[in-house]
Symmetry: D2
Subunit: 362 residues, 4 copies
């Protein structure tokens, strides 16, 4: 269960990190959207490991194939299947994991739930699972851009205690992609890169915060009660591997203000649009977008796989130790950036279609 996301723009992902491949099926994509494997590949390449000295060196080519739903370069309105073959083979690296539970990984919980697991890698909890999300997200982004000019930009806001200064109103994809840590504050970026590199040498790992801004989101997306736009964004983000927290607008810090400080007062701009003076709400009020920028933050814990030796147990409960072999990923944050963008796009696209279905019909 739980491999389906969305209500009108619905995606189903599949695939373990080891086995035939990973991918996604999109159900409900609007027809006549121009889409190519090249465009999807661009996003997949951003999330791929082995891109720089600060990410995992695991070499994955992650070449995508559109199996169905696209004809002569355009979506058909029917289900779109996208497949990425697995390449790896070094499963001998995983032999030890057939027996030992990796701390803070899902090995033990999979065994508890299913009584079986694919011990060659992380199963469905591998970061490879996000390939399907990013591929579908590429299409969702295209639809949002085409229908409403929506822009979604995510970036590394903080690594451990190194916080960047970034203006969400103006930050661009080019600035984000201008360095390997995907932090558009160049000074902070260099410090982050150094810290990640040092952490890698220490066989340890670190985490941080990704911030994401959604601009030009039409007013009216989101539903009043359970499917509030921020609730679905929270679910999407908290379903990404290694996430521990979610905030919108003022977030946890907003709890330190009084109502008179926190409320976003209204005004009418020159074009006659009703706007808010401040945006502590983060672009959503009562679960529905208000036309201001939607701003969220997602906390990613330090990667669980580390080279340092740790206490653990075997499947049968015997105590032992484990140290991950080979080079590992000291910090998932740079690769998490496209994942966060993808989930934001999937949520917005689904709500765009839902809103049109219910409210533009009459």
């Amino acid at each position: 269960m739980g491999n389906i996301f969305g209500h009108l723009f619905r995606i189903t992902t599949f695939g373990e990190s080891h086995g035939g491949g990973v991918g996604v099926v999109i159900d409900g994509c609007p027809p006549r959207i121009e889409i190519s494997e090249t465009e999807i590949q661009l996003e997949l390449d951003r999330r791929r490991p082995g891109q720089s000295k600060i990410t995992t060196p695991r070499q994955e080519s992650d070449t995508c194939e559109i199996i169905s739903g696209v004809f002569e370069g355009k979506t058909l309105g029917t289900s779109i299947a996208i497949l990425v073959r697995n390449k790896d083979a070094r499963s001998q690296d995983y032999d030890e994991m057939a027996l030992k539970y990796r701390p803070s990984h899902a090995d033990a919980t999979y065994d508890a739930k299913y009584g079986i697991r694919n011990w060659k890698g992380g199963g469905r909890s591998s970061a490879r699972e996000t390939i399907g999300r990013v591929a579908a997200g590429a299409i969702a982004k295209k639809i949002l851009q085409q229908v409403a000019g929506v822009e979604i930009v995510a970036y590394v806001k903080r690594i451990k205690d190194l916080e960047a200064i970034i203006n969400p109103e103006t930050v661009t994809l080019e600035e984000v992609e201008s360095n390997i840590v995907r932090c558009p504050d160049q000074d902070a970026a260099q410090k982050m890169i150094d810290l990640i590199d040092q952490t890698r040498r220490e066989k340890d790992s670190i985490g941080g915060v990704v911030e994401c801004v959604m601009r030009n989101v039409p007013k009216g997306l989101g539903e009043p009660v359970f499917d509030k736009l921020e609730a679905d964004l929270a679910k999407g983000m908290m379903s990404l591997p290694a996430t521990k927290g979610f905030e919108i607008g003022s977030g946890f810090a907003g709890t330190l203000l009084t109502g008179s400080e926190h409320n976003d007062e209204f005004y009418t701009d020159e074009a006659g649009n009703i706007r808010t003076v401040t945006n502590l709400s983060g672009g959503i009020q009562g679960g529905i977008s208000n036309g201001e920028n939607i701003i969220i933050r997602v906390a990613f814990k330090p990667t669980a796989t580390i080279g340092k030796e740790q206490q653990t147990v075997t499947q049968t409960g015997e105590e032992t130790t484990l140290a991950a072999k080979g080079r590992h990923d000291p910090c998932v944050l740079p690769r998490a950036v496209p994942m966060v963008e993808a989930m934001a796009a999937l949520v917005l696209c689904d709500h765009l279609l839902r809103h049109h279905g219910q409210c533009k019909t009459v």
Copy 2:
């Protein structure tokens, strides 16, 4: 859209703050659970306003009626409808709101989405909407308690900058209910009460953080990918009115640690159970419960309705000012405690049934 929550234990809520009433229909409740209006009323009374000097004085009796699905004191397995009639009718208080948008309320976004709104109160964004959730949560709690001995306890962890010291391992419902602010740290509680009372006199409002612990949750609940247990908890909590953030386990603070500090090492306890030494994961790994306590925190912003005058606009965009009439609720946190418990119970109960359906069948 968006008035349905859950997959096997599904609830549909209905009702505006003004109109015939509010309530819930539960689809998928197991049969033969003993349940009475009295038990549900107990939870409803906890979330009811007008209980003390620090909450809104709006008098709501909130008496629930079970319309269907229960026969001779036991659930039938069929859909359970619960109705609470609306009483309060001082809609003249709301006349001004027919025209003016309340800052950081949903008035403007409802108009943008639907082109119509019930201006007599907060519509579906009123805290009254949570009555249905709390009623259904009472039944979910009962099932969880009966099937697995699950205990769910929420409490006020922080009001503005006043943070309480509470042991989630041992805290009890009785301790929570021992004071009107629902904070089991008595020293902090008194300071919180004073601060809320002072804020009320200043016609302002404040927010804070509710923490919730779920104990004795069976291993194996939650699904690997989109329906991770923490993702559904995040969605449930972020769908409550006035929430701005969600954390599990180490949360945002966990991003300041290294992997070797953050990982929860395994050991085998005397009873032969595989356990973790620490619990920075917060009871969930890879989206699936691991048998440790599940601990979450939810940020609630300061209530939007305040007596102080604020800048705003009318429906047609003319700039004006607004100051809420009558006594208002200076702090929603005490009443948010049973809402958080209800959402936690609804998520866990749904996942319990889903897990049994998929994994206990064979």
Copy 3:
């Protein structure tokens, strides 16, 4: 489970035949639709028993109350709850049924599934459950009529072996309502009434076929694979109590033709629209409406409750006999007509919104 129907226009029904009441919650209704209790009541009155000598004499007033989602006569876009109180309380008639299983009723299967049942009446299998469907159907009809001029007319096509001759192209609601058996062929209608009356005197029951035509359905409704328009119509109809079969267009008789006889050849009409010469497809091709009239037929078995003595067993398996007390309903067909219309409207309305969401967005 199973009390929710639809995907974008979703309804949840509740209520047993005995207990507080029955009703429905509609999630996803478009905003700003004018709707009143009077309009809903009109449809409820058509499905109400006790209307004539040929239906069950059970007196039900079935007065509906809109609890939420409608403000100043218009839908708000939020969830609409409609409640009908139960009145009839002659549960002493049912005392025998606490112990004995009624043949071809759901008593035994409810006990097998849930281990409990509300023996005061038919529980969720009572025809009273359809009140919620008919109420929601009244709103769906209104939307369809307003958005696309869709007309839905159902009528009794056959009672036992008495078949009526009716032109689905032209038949009107007025003709259907012109007699108590709801058969617009007046000659057949009189014979049907006589047969039902005679059957009633024999303490027996009879069944038949309801036909339903949907006119002016826009092209493009329905989805290619599982949610084909005819598949969802089939599900909707086969979810009505006492149904045993479903047909669309040529139906079972169409299997006696060859392809060259059965295919609907295309032509272009004077207005330039692509039309079909014949309509053996019944208005749907490949699961999608083609603009021709949609025509379906639904088989209703003879009512299970009869006054004649029958062999049965008690809950504990002891063999016994049972004869239903009091007057019973000798033929459900006249009352089934508005139920069929309601389900047709619910399916079409849901698909209209889905189609707009996916295909009108770009």
Copy 4:
């Protein structure tokens, strides 16, 4: 939309008849079920065209590959993706169809709905789409067989007016597979084969009825209201290409009986089980299985693609004629048999898991 089926055992299918391939993703399959590509291939081979002189000669190898969700021969509980590559290439056969609408095909409705279609073949309306269903059905059958000993056997009951005499209580898969028309009445089978062969020579097509019996279905599957077991079976069957009607138990013929003739009286068998003397209900009462054999019938119209010349129009509405090139399939019935079995298995398996989730938890 509409490419997802089921609630707990959910499948998503994808693929056009021409393009990369077709397949299915299963979400919610129980863990630790032994399954191999060989077992799935067995069912796919039954549905494959080109098997005998009476089916379409289109050569499809239809070799399946399990991409994910199975490890060392057992299901993991995670999503199972199965892919079948397309082989064909003779798309020049379809060039004419780029312009002309085939009568009673979905060409025109796809264009009306999406404004685009894959004219190289039947798109999602091709019988090839059922490959994903049959593959998933093979796994559902295995689960049903293993958990409850359920047997599902479908067979050709009628071709045009040639009706077979078959005992659903005893008919076996071996008998069904003993001839190329999949009709276990050998006399009728020979006549059917002759009729199909003659029809093929006449460049025409014929239809008929498939009957399906489900034996050893546990009591209690199905839900009382919308998700009645027969409603979901009806939806599943009516979602298969070329279906025009669905019946359960007595079906349309049951409307000719009186209640006293139609009711299934109860008795207690030697083992103490409550049984019914007759089975006109077809194994389901009140939407819930009663332990008797479930018997359904599905009407398939004559195949739309025929060699005879027909009147039609082009995409732009110009009138023209069309005669399908090459050999075509004169009768889909033999290949429809495994499709019907697959849909029956998918529905039963989903309801088995749902029932366990709701009713076996407490």
